[in-house]
Symmetry: C2
Subunit: 475 residues, 2 copies
């Protein structure tokens, strides 16, 4: 009921004439189908082949991960990364380049170590979870198979002890195994506190067997006193489990020199290729500029930055620009809570409608195998048209499987329509948030396939006649 | 000329009657061929099959790497490892168990870090080379392709700088690629000093692309003032090379909190299965008990400890023991200069002859694919007989390829005859001397194949009539 007037005002506020405003009400029976003009496909095909032959995406990731290296939100390198992104957009010939501030509390990691103490004294490779307080704790280890088992521990049961959750994450192509792994990382520390623990340790949310722990953000429920929380590399988690199997109490010491240190303002960096006939309508392809500090953020998310910046550049080089504007966003601080994405959603809350559709690349550098979208019925034909143009890249249409990329979640909550170019993430959690996330892990050919897919997707979406279903909604 | 009297005296000193002493002079035309009695092969076959079905070798490695963990020579864990080995030999029912002292200067690692400083500031993952002095150095990086290029640098050319040798080691089944990699590690620092460098950095002598640097011993030529010397993980070496390719000076800082700290006495730990009819004649199967500190020393050389201890135990369990004694040695401090092997060679210098033949397992946990030996012509038939008994394990006879295992080199220099059970080392240098050398990297089935091969080899060598060519020689 509140929808129609709101939409109208949004359309006006965005500077869209009513003539170009599509019919928004998804339920309306007279809804015209969104279609992509046949004339656009020849260009899309050329774009696809050019992208496959180009190493631009790889060179962008190389530049970012080499010249800047790790770029944790709030670090000195965060500022350098922002300058790098501005310069790179300009270098690539984007029509407009600007930044938008993103402010957040700064979390720092100075050092960290862990060790088994006592009869079987030996070091443990661990890393603090983002948001963990610093501190030194030593205590007997109590092991749990998974989060549910820890949550079932009675209040006070872990007094003076360190909770250790040895949940083994599943390797999957679509990354679905990360659901439970990420959930443990997010909720485990609070569950440990409720049971009285003085420290929290988890088997990393990862699938490799290398001596590289996986960091990542955690949070603490309100009213709880945060405790030092860390993740063990998978071989170390297995070692700890073997030590516990000896049947004697095992004590571990962890020293985390980490914590909160004031506030920091980073920037979302935005570049645009201006549309030729409907420049106020936007197709978004996005990624995040920040990384964790342990690796150089090549697959997370240097790859996404390279893919989207290169795709936009290839579109910008076309003789005839697409109708709509391509907006490429390098988001600030995704890792510590989608902060850049939230800032964007707040800032553009009144402009949902002109953000026609958005896709984020933030799942590594593996080949894309599927296109899906939450687009309503009247726009599915257009999504299928795009999927057909992507088919030569080995990409299938996958209905409405999945959802928006992480930085898009806040804005999708306000009505932004998403598309998903699903990457093969079979190996992604071998590297995700570890020291091993470095350039050498990227296959340049797979990356070029990604650039091709993003270029074709963005170009055709920017040529579409009709919308994809972005419409303001109450959260 | 001096050979015959010496041999005779050795034989007497060893308590061998002349009747059982074989004819030693390899050049003699009336040399009887060494042969293994046909009756021994049925037992060897049973032994082989039992070993393949047993997980004893794996359980020994698991026990060592879990309960002790890393056990760098001279560390607190070195002493625990010695106690562990004594207890394990007893637990396995060895007839005799004893230790022999091994004294060496103690080298310690407290901490280490490295970083690119300046415009592209970022951490580098490195590890000090064993024997490096501690200290902090910062300097401009000068890159060399290999050791030869560094050695060609004029005196003083690197004054105030850090030499970086980016030699890429080759992956090979037989480990031959390590020749040049290990040579760089050993000789690089001295070459850097001669050119005036203040620090030495090398691409790790390894074949993986993980963020795990490979440590290992280095040495400094006499008269040179040692400089901080470290190895970069392979991804970090590639990163440094990419940074240098930007065309600007790149400065690196390395802080090594390592160095020499007095003297330490560890122990060679020895267990014997006493022979049934010629107990004074020894067949040696050996490995080393120490490891580097970064990993838990699973493939280097927990595997060798598990393989040899288990093989001896399986032979000890036979209804009828072989003629000769099986001596299993867990050497102290192989990693920092074959110190345990040298001590053994000194102590038993007068008893070369009764050490009939020796094989060391110190090349990981991969399957064995070949048997070779430096045995003289008259004993080759017996080696071939052993190879035939090993053939069902996928092992071929390989003549005199290779040489003695590292701990056997000092004694082989005094005349000990060696055999080599060549393991597939294709992946060995992915793990060697890194944090990643942990139990999970061992395939239990491949390890059982090793145990089977060592058991069959040792059993049949201990049944042989005639010797394998061990004879004192002037070094």
């Amino acid at each position: 009921m509140r929808l129609a007037p709101l939409l109208l005002s949004v359309a006006l506020a965005s500077g869209l004439g009513l003539a170009t405003a599509p019919a928004f009400a998804a339920g309306a029976t007279d809804q015209q189908e969104t279609r992509i003009p046949q004339a656009s496909f020849a260009t899309a095909e050329r774009l696809r082949e050019q992208a496959l032959e180009s190493d631009l995406g790889y060179r962008i990731v190389e530049s970012l991960t080499t010249e800047i290296g790790p770029r944790m939100a709030g670090s000195e390198a965060d500022a350098r990364a922002v300058e790098w992104a501005i310069a790179k957009f300009h270098e690539l010939g984007y029509d407009k380049v600007w930044t938008e501030p993103v402010t957040f509390p700064k979390w720092v990691r100075h050092g960290e170590s862990g060790a088994v103490v006592g009869d079987h004294a030996q070091p443990l490779t661990l890393t603090a979870l983002g948001g963990s307080p610093g501190g030194s704790v030593e205590g007997e280890i109590v092991r749990f198979d998974d989060l549910e088992a820890l949550e079932a521990a009675p209040e006070g049961a872990l007094a003076g002890k360190i909770a250790f959750v040895d949940y083994e994450m599943e390797r999957t192509r679509d990354g679905s195994g990360y659901g439970l792994g990420g959930r443990l990382r997010s909720r485990g520390p609070s569950a440990a506190i409720r049971a009285g623990a003085e420290g929290f340790l988890m088997r990393s949310a990862g699938t490799d067997l290398h001596r590289n722990p996986h960091t990542g953000n955690t949070r603490f429920d309100e009213g709880l006193e945060p405790i030092p929380s860390a993740a063990l590399s998978l071989p170390d988690a297995e070692q700890l489990t073997r030590l516990l199997a000896l049947g004697k109490p095992i004590r571990v010491r962890m020293d985390l020199d980490v914590g909160w240190d004031g506030e920091y303002t980073s920037q979302n960096v935005i570049g645009e290729i201006t549309g030729s006939s409907r420049p106020d309508e936007l197709v978004l392809i996005v990624a995040h500029l920040d990384s964790w500090d342990l690796g150089t953020g090549a697959v997370d998310d240097g790859a996404g930055i390279g893919i989207t910046m290169a795709a936009g550049k290839l579109i910008g080089d076309l003789e005839r620009r697409p109708a709509r504007t391509i907006r490429v966003i390098a988001f600030a601080n995704e890792e510590q809570g989608l902060v850049g994405g939230r800032a964007y959603a707040e800032k553009y809350a009144g402009e949902v409608t002109r953000h026609m559709i958005a896709a984020e690349s933030d799942f590594g550098a593996g080949r894309i195998y599927a296109l899906s979208s939450g687009a309503p019925e009247y726009a599915r034909g257009a999504v299928k048209q795009i999927a057909e143009a992507l088919a030569p890249l080995g990409i299938e249409y996958a209905g409405d499987a999945g959802g928006p990329g992480p930085d898009l979640i806040p804005f999708a909550g306000k009505g932004l329509m998403w598309a998903r170019l699903a990457q093969d993430g079979t190996d992604y959690f071998d590297l995700h948030h570890t020291p091993d996330d470095t350039l050498d892990k990227i296959d340049p050919e797979a990356l070029a396939q990604n650039v091709a897919a993003y270029a074709v997707f963005a170009y055709l979406a920017a040529e579409a006649e009709g919308d994809f279903g972005s419409a303001p909604k109450d959260e």
